[in-house]
């Protein structure tokens, strides 16, 4: 599904054929599929209206109007039948039910980045709240929206919450002014607190490993600390220095190679394919000899939210690798081998990395850096793929298909789908 201004366009994933076309009242800001892929919600924040469309029945429609409460965020519940709207100024979260047309309210939600978290199996929802200058976490049962547990957290200013994939542990971390991460069990007991240091800027990003064995914490001091699920103590620290000296690390450097154009072949007007290849530079990967020094950027010291520290963390689905990005070295992706707890590969790109995402089925990482190439890495090697498009196509973000066979590459105005061939085994 994609939205263009105020239209919602639904296409088939494998053929990109147009299936449905819906028109909404206003410019759509946010689109989300329901978990069973039967409904799509389109949120229009300016109007404060959410419209829901059905894929099976194009005539079915639903409109949720928040009115003067305004709308800041909207999302589906895991069962695909409830919509949670966060009103303006985070006054409350309204739970609209599509089955019963009933409404529930959750008061005093916290205005933070990740205030709502659902467990992987969709049974429980954790909501961060703040009352009387204190942070609380409420756990609701998604089936009937009953409050299960309500407990306070020892954080100064809760920044985010995230469930472990096994649904039994909730990680709660504090604002970046305080390095503090708390781990709560499903029934609200505090399991452990971890605090690496004081005073310096703290946690920037966290990621759970798919088996819930490890919790990776990326912080502003350019280090990733890994906690294990048995003792909740740090088992190792990953540093991201600007110079890589370890000989066992493979460093792939993106190198541009300008295509050799034979002047004799040039014809006027130039053929389309030739034109695109003339202006776009191909690039390939070279293995650099260790020691390698990467481009290090020191951010301006007197600005808030400085671009330093570990900004992106992602575990591979087979629990073997961890991909990180150090915002001080924006052109490199660091891939760590979790089985050996060592740095495995570093991908050095020419431009700053915009985003990366693991293939949901295999240990394959797709990276985009804002140019028209998508880079794929797997333990077998890495490859740079040019998007065959005329003109500029700056990939800003990408998203894998759940089967791992294709991925959507998004730029500002367009998107394309990249299909990956399966290996004949």
């Amino acid at each position: 599904a994609s939205c263009v201004q105020y239209r919602l366009v639904v296409r088939d994933a494998s053929t990109l054929q147009l299936l449905q076309l819906y028109t909404c009242l206003d410019q759509i800001q946010y689109v989300e599929w329901s978990s069973d892929s039967l409904f799509i919600l389109c949120a229009m924040y300016k109007r404060g209206v959410v419209q829901v469309w059905s894929l099976e029945q194009p005539d079915w429609h639903c409109k949720i109007d928040e009115g003067s409460a305004g709308l800041v965020a909207s999302c589906w519940s895991p069962d695909g039948r409830h919509i949670l709207n966060t009103t303006e100024f985070h006054l409350r979260i309204t739970v609209w039910s599509l089955c019963t047309k009933s409404v529930s309210y959750i008061k005093y939600p916290k205005a933070c980045q990740q205030g709502i978290a659902f467990t992987k199996d969709g049974r429980y929802m954790a909501v961060a709240e703040r009352r009387d200058c204190k942070d609380f976490v409420s756990i609701f049962v998604c089936s009937d929206w009953q409050l299960l547990r309500h407990f306070d957290t020892e954080t100064q200013d809760l920044f985010g919450i995230e469930w472990a994939p096994n649904g039994c542990v909730l990680a709660v971390w504090d604002t970046c002014l305080e390095y503090k991460i708390l781990l709560y069990s499903l029934d609200g007991r505090l399991l452990s607190t971890y605090r690496a240091y004081e005073w310096s800027l703290g946690i920037k990003s966290i990621a759970w490993s798919p088996s819930s064995q490890f919790l990776a914490i990326g912080s502003y001091d350019e280090k990733v600390r890994i906690l294990n699920h048995v003792t909740w103590k740090k088992i190792t620290e990953f540093e991201h220095p600007a110079t890589i000296a370890n000989t066992k690390t493979i460093v792939y450097k993106e190198v541009e190679k300008s295509p050799s154009v034979e002047t004799e072949r040039l014809s006027f007007p130039p053929a389309r394919a030739l034109a695109s290849s003339l202006f776009s530079t191909q690039s390939k990967y070279d293995i650099s000899e260790v020691p390698v020094s990467l481009q290090y950027i020191k951010p301006v010291a007197d600005r808030a939210n400085p671009k330093m520290g570990i900004g992106m963390l992602a575990f591979s689905p087979d629990n073997c690798f961890l991909a990180t990005k150090n915002d001080n070295i924006p052109n490199a992706v660091w891939i760590w081998d979790i089985q050996k707890l060592k740095l495995f590969v570093v991908l050095e790109q020419l431009c700053a990395i915009q985003s990366f995402q693991w293939d949901p089925r295999q240990p394959r990482l797709a990276v985009c850096t804002g140019n028209s190439k998508v880079y794929l890495w797997s333990p077998a090697g890495c490859v740079a793929v040019q998007v065959p498009v005329e003109g500029d196509f700056q990939i800003v973000s990408l998203s894998w298909h759940s089967s791992g066979d294709s991925m959507a590459l998004l730029s500002k105005d367009n998107f394309c789908v990249c299909y990956l061939e399966r290996e004949e085994v």
Partner: protein, 540 residues
């Protein structure tokens, strides 16, 4: 004594030049007594003459003689005058006096030489000492200067050290101050934040109220139709039951997670234990047998027995999959012990190997080799000695046998020998008789068996004869001759079956019987068959 001042006394001065002056001048001036008589140079003969003539001239002989006498007497010499008469010189006493004076002169000269030697020595010592003193003084000066220099450096370094300490302290203080500043600012910010948040909350509340007031009009949801729940269930009321159920479910989820984890841990634990046990067994097998060194045996004896106990216990434990702490500790402790022993053993081996490789043969090895050689030599010697002893013994024996000794002793000896022999013979006879009895028994049993067999055979032969007759009768036109031989052979084979079971001798015995039995057969073709049979039997 005042007299001799007036008399001209030729001064014995140190310089011969003075003497020359004096003598050339020929003046008899009273130069005055020189108490310093340092040198007494032997003047030359000429000067001596003139010197002597200066003292005593023709005019003052008597005066000089009397003066000399007085001097000599004062010095303790006998008078040169004759005792009774005055003014008559006693030549003998004069000569004696002269001799004495000469002796004295020699002594004095020697003394003077000695003194001069000493003087020279002392002078050189003094020079030496002065030089040493000068050198030492210089050294002292140098060392003093050095000390001063070092002290100066020491002072500088100390002051530097103090400065650095001070700097360090300052830095620490600054750091502490900054930390305090940070913490105070943080608390201040927190306080401010809280204040602002409270304000904000108030605003939110207000806004919420306003929004809620308008709720009925605007906030609504339009749905075309109700949508069924994803899982098809109907909506349920929220009651206490549901609450309880939710709690239950939550706990179930938690418990299942814990159980899963525990299972995984158990599996891991069991695997690790297996690996540890395997390792332990292998370590035990790797360690060398502790036979040679009794010390180690004492140490390992109880350990090994412990190990055996451990293995026994642990195997039992593993069977039941218990894991109490004591068992765990035992296993780990025993593995640690074994590992240490193995490590020591490997270290020893390494040392030995390094010694061998370095080529520096230890005394031990050399000695051992020498020992070996010595031992082999010893053994050879021993062998030789033994051989010699044997030879001598043989000789002695022969001598004994051949030598004519006393009749009694020979008789006695013979008797002894005979007795011995007789006893031996009797024993052997006894054995022989027993064996004979056994053989007799066996033979009897065999004969009985043979008789039985013969009877059986006879019966069998009769049956066979009957059967053959039947065959003949039944198959008249057939080729009897051709068939009879293989049949007979078959029958012979059947016969040989039971025969081969018995011992060879008896089988031969019986073959003869069988052959004799076969020969009794009425059939005329049996003879060639006999041959075949005997051959056949022979191959048995």
């Amino acid at each position: 004594m005042g007299d001799w001042k007036t008399i001209t006394v030729p001064v014995l001065s140190s310089d011969s030049e003075n003497i020359f002056q004096y003598t050339s001048g020929k003046k008899i001036s009273p130069p005055g007594m020189n108490s310093q008589v340092l040198r007494l140079p032997l003047p030359s003969s000429k000067s001596m003459h003139s010197f002597f003539s200066a003292f005593c001239t023709e005019e003052n002989i008597e005066q000089s003689v009397s003066y000399l006498d007085r001097e000599l007497t004062t010095l303790g010499f006998p008078s040169i005058y004759v005792e009774s008469k005055g003014k008559e010189l006693n030549l003998i006493s004069i000569i004696n006096c002269m001799n004495e004076l000469l002796v004295l002169q020699h002594k004095n000269l020697r003394a003077q030489e000695e003194v001069e030697m000493q003087h020279l020595k002392l002078g050189s010592d003094m020079d030496h000492l002065q030089n040493c003193y000068a050198k030492l003084k210089e050294q002292l000066e140098l060392s003093k200067r050095e000390i001063v220099g070092l002290q100066e450096r020491d002072r500088q370094l100390q002051s530097k050290n103090r400065n650095l300490h001070q700097l360090l302290k300052n830095e620490k203080d600054e750091v502490q101050k900054l930390q305090n500043i940070i913490s105070s600012r943080a608390t201040q910010y927190n306080h401010d934040m809280k204040r602002k948040e409270r304000e904000y909350n108030k605003l939110k509340e207000r806004l919420h109220q306003l929004v809620m007031n308008k709720k009925d009009k605007k906030i609504a949801m339009e749905v075309l139709n109700y949508v069924g729940r994803a899982d098809g269930k109907r909506g349920a009321w929220r009651t206490d039951k549901t609450e309880a159920r939710n709690e239950e479910e939550m706990y179930k989820v938690l418990l299942s997670d814990y159980e899963q984890r525990q299972k995984q841990l158990l599996v891991e634990n069991a695997e690790l234990k297996k690996v540890l046990q395997q390792m332990k067994k292998e370590i035990i097998s790797l360690l060398p047998p502790q036979k040679q060194k009794p010390k180690e045996r004492c140490e390992d004896g109880p350990v090994l027995s412990d190990l055996e106990e451990d293995t026994g216990e642990l195997s039992k434990e593993n069977m039941w999959e218990l894991s109490c702490e004591t068992v765990r500790e035992q296993l780990t402790n025993s593995i640690r012990k074994q590992w240490r022993m193995l490590k020591n053993h490997v270290e020893k081996l390494d040392n030995q190997v390094s010694r061998v490789h370095s080529g520096a043969l230890n005394g031990k090895d050399v000695i051992s080799r020498e020992d070996h050689e010595l031992e082999t030599e010893k053994l050879e010697l021993e062998i030789q000695q033994c051989k010699e002893m044997i030879k001598t013994q043989q000789q002695l024996l022969q001598q004994q046998l051949m030598s004519p000794c006393d009749d009694d002793t020979t008789l006695l000896l013979q008797d002894c020998y005979l007795l011995e022999e007789r006893e031996r013979l009797q024993e052997e006879w006894g054995l022989f008789r027993e064996q004979k009895k056994n053989f007799e028994k066996e033979r009897r049993s065999f004969t009985e068996a043979a008789i039985r067999l013969g009877l059986e055979r006879k019966a069998f032969e009769e049956d066979r004869g009957a059967w053959l007759k039947q065959q003949f009768l039944s198959s008249d036109q057939d080729n009897r001759l051709v068939k009879s031989t293989p049949q007979q052979r078959k029958l012979h084979c059947m016969l040989s079956g039971p025969v081969s079971a018995e011992p060879c001798q008896t089988s031969q015995y019986i073959t003869r019987d069988s052959s004799s039995a076969a020969s009794e057969k009425p059939a005329g073709d049996s003879k060639p068959n006999q041959w075949e049979e005997s051959d056949h039997e022979g191959t048995d």
